[in-house]
Symmetry: C2
Subunit: 190 residues, 2 copies
């Protein structure tokens, strides 16, 4: 297969990426802010660490530095319009929780609430940060996890027949997974 | 929706994750090694940086430190069996390129080849590394990108009707995306 060169600048080449809604306490507003992040990944098993990349210009970044913890919230694709609205509003000028009437669930191990509708939510304590180009990588230790009953099987693997995880494709578009897993029966590489 | 607590140790809660095949030159073998990595993400736009997490015990990690560069290779879900085999073989004991008869494409900007079948491949220069728990985060600057013609639209967004990106779901299972994007018409949250 012939290929062609492309400008290295676009990150869309490496999408779709799972959408993670990052929740952070807002001490001034006595509330909580939620913002979608897609440059995010598990980074370690022992201890369980999860990394999120935030621009240092963002309100979420300022808040995480202040309070030292954050939550991760993963939503079903049915919530696409909500995620789009969360991405367009700025927490600096808008109380998103009040404006969008977001139902919150109380934290279980730390202080920051999670989104009640998330099929999985995690509470993270900030452990480290590294400047990475135009972003800051914030590394949190996963201190607690809450899951929607039945969303994961006995091995902790997501049940795609029950949950449609939400990915950002780029260009304002979102996508989810097929319900069936890949068997490889369609390949000719073997 | 009521939720239940879960052990924070499993990273599967935060899957599916896009599968990235990391290619590294192997100077001893005068060849190249490829290994699947899922703890990986774009991390910066300007400069374009991409981070991969590797255990310091892995052969790929040793090689990246030696040669200072690596490639990223993203495959269609039709290649699931090949990805599974790449994940099971160790580059320490097996020349995967020879054993699996992998067709390579020559590098365009650096020294490391890419997988010819990748719908997008990127050449990265190692810029930084940070220990993160039981892994090492390696940060590469994207110096060149090659794409399969027609795989991306004019905005650089993946055309899901032409490419089925491969995700690892956990528990040895893989999944791809639906061809249609989410419109949000199924939501009741608005």
């Amino acid at each position: 297969m012939e290929r062609e060169s492309a400008a290295p600048a676009s990150c869309y080449f490496f999408y779709p990426q799972l959408v993670c809604l990052v929740g952070v306490l807002d001490p001034v507003r006595d509330g909580c802010n939620f913002a979608p992040v897609v440059w995010a990944s598990p980074m370690s098993s022992d201890p369980p660490l999860f990394g999120i990349c935030l621009s240092p210009k963002t309100y979420s970044y300022e808040l995480v530095l202040k309070v030292g913890e954050f939550t991760l919230n993963f939503l079903d694709a049915a919530q696409t319009p909500l995620v789009q609205r969360l991405g367009k509003l700025s927490g600096r000028t808008t109380d998103k929780v009040k404006t969008l009437n977001l139902p919150l669930a109380p934290p279980e191990t730390l202080e920051t609430p999670t989104l009640a509708m998330a099929y999985v939510a995690a509470e993270c304590q900030l452990r480290d940060r590294h400047p990475v180009g135009d972003q800051i990588l914030l590394i949190g230790e996963v201190m607690g996890v809450q899951v929607q009953p039945g969303a994961f099987d006995a091995d902790g693997v997501l049940r795609l027949e029950r949950v449609s995880p939400l990915f950002y494709l780029g260009g304002g578009r979102y996508v989810t997974t097929e319900r069936r897993t890949c068997t490889g029966s369609t390949t000719s590489s073997d």
